[in-house]
Amino acid sequence: MHWLSKKRYICFMLLPTLLVYSAYIILPIIIASYYSLTRFSGIGEPEFIGLKNYQALLQDPFFWVSLKNTVIVLGVTLIVLIPSAFFLALLLNRDVKGSNVLKALNFAPAVIAPILVGLIWVFILDPDMGFVNVFLQKIGLEQLAFQWIGGTTLTPYSVGVVESWRILGFIATIFLAGLATIPREIYEASDIDGANRVQKLIFITIPMLNETFKINVILIITFCFKIFETVLQLTNGGPNHLSEVLVTYMYNVTFISGEYGYGMAVAVVTLLITIVFMALFMGLSRKRVEKKGV
């Protein structure tokens, strides 16, 4: 390989990737950080104002509402998805006839465009003509027919349910990959010791999947902080920004209100919050492992 590793060959092979990557990933992050320190309305030169955008952010009630909604979406998704995806994986892991087809069907929502997912769920959640409320009225449970979307409180919970539906099959597939790595011998040994199914689940399967659970929590965090199209289709952040999540709020501030500098401050803070959430979770799970080790 030495013969072909002349400097100009290496440069030639690396250059196109590095060029596009630097211009469209690295440079934009620098630009975003710079604009977040300015006031800029799209005309003329951006005016440098230091950390004022960030100070304004702390006083901005809509920012806190979007943060709260994002946390609700994340919470709902974690609570719904971790047990149900794990359960689905356990079921798929057995020798069920056509389990490949079932796996593919459950995975399908993760593949179609998120903008389409949002639109489909409008017809499920719409308070007047959506599936859920029409169904509830039909079986005589009118009192449960809430305003799932478009009201003042329930939208982020609904968004969490939609996201759970979207990535259920995907998260279950990761669990399945984890289940495949557990050696059969352990189960056989526990058979000899007379362990029943529940004991096997609690003392073998779940502890052995520790790593997989962690991966899935991290995946769910990244997915939830990227939700954009669903909110756009269901309510577009309304009424009066009440159902906004961080990403849609950033988008609306930047491109609809045209406050580019302030919008970039929201973007930078959103990125930082994502990182903090992941770091917190990883720190927590590490501590638990250390305690167990002692």
Partner: protein, 295 residues
């Protein structure tokens, strides 16, 4: 005699366990089919509604459609320029995917096979290229919008192709590097001794070996471009450049309260995606899980 007895007993035991097996099988069938049905419900609901008139949708949504009305589909096809949406998306997807596969293959080949003077630089570049996996695209929207204006690319196919290439680099690097690292170098070294140059080495020796990973990357990249919405809505304002996701985002506004039209349009773009997925689900599932687990 004795032996025959144990044999019979064993058979009986076997039959018993067989019986309990079918019983437990039924118990595992019911929940899995129930879950799958619930997951499929939104799709089925859309398809059912798409054959109903607007008044039926509002008054009797659950009953089967009285006469299979194709009125909604007629309205959808008449209102939408499906051909244009698909044409733009296909142009952008094909150019993006071909270019990004070629350039990320080149850079991954260099980083996994070529000899660098400094090993640190090589490792550093690899992690540098993976950084993109952790960066959400939303922080890039406005800066890329500015860059696009600066390059005078607004409302061209290139305005989307370039960011799509950039945001695919990290994922492709991860998969290419993972595959190339696990592959022995002997064949390539033999080819070099035989006097192969860099181009023929890549084309005739390495390329045939990495076809499976290219297939996964190809389908994964296509899917990403096909579904991408945030960049498209930010960078495209001209109707003649509308992509499939952009078209979908306008359904609600176009038909206002003609639910039938929106639903039929939704089904019309949903079905091709599901068919595409049906054909390539193996690669898609492999690509998505590999990216997630390794990342």
């Amino acid at each position: 005699m004795n032996q025959a007895m144990t044999q019979r007993q064993e058979n009986q035991n076997l039959a018993k366990s067989e019986k309990s097996k079918t019983k437990s099988k039924i118990w595992s069938y019911i929940p899995i089919y129930a879950i799958t049905l619930i997951v499929m419900l939104p799709f089925l609901w859309m398809i059912l509604l798409s054959f109903k008139s607007n008044s039926e949708i509002l008054t009797s949504p659950f009953s089967l459609p009285t006469n299979l009305s194709l009125e909604n589909y007629r309205s959808a096809i008449a209102t939408l320029d499906l051909l244009l949406m698909y044409k733009n998306t296909i142009i952008i997807a094909v150019i993006t995917v071909v270019v990004v596969i070629i350039i990320t293959f080149m850079s991954s080949f260099a980083l996994s096979r070529m000899v660098f003077k400094s090993g640190k630089l090589k490792g550093g570049l690899y992690y540098f290229l993976l950084l993109g996996l952790a960066i959400p695209p939303f922080i890039l929207l406005f800066p890329i919008y500015r860059i696009t204006i600066m390059f005078d690319l607004m409302n061209t196919h290139a305005s989307l192709i370039l960011p799509y290439i950039a945001t695919s680099i990290s994922f492709n690097t991860l998969l290419f590097m993972g595959f190339l690292k696990g592959f022995p170098k002997e064949l390539e070294e033999a080819a070099i001794i035989d006097g192969c140059n860099l181009f023929t080495l890549c084309k005739s020796v390495v390329l045939p070996i990495i076809i499976p990973v290219i297939a996964t990357i190809f389908i994964f990249n296509i899917l990403y471009v096909w579904n991408e919405f945030p960049f498209a809505v930010t960078l495209i304002s001209s109707d003649s450049l509308t992509t499939v996701p952009l078209g979908i985002s306008e359904f609600k506004g176009r038909w206002n309260i003609d639910y039938g039209g929106i639903i039929a349009a939704t089904v019309l773009v949903m079905i091709p995606q599901l068919i595409f997925y049906g054909f390539f689900q193996k690669y898609i599932i492999a690509g998505m899980t590999a990216g997630a687990v390794k990342g």
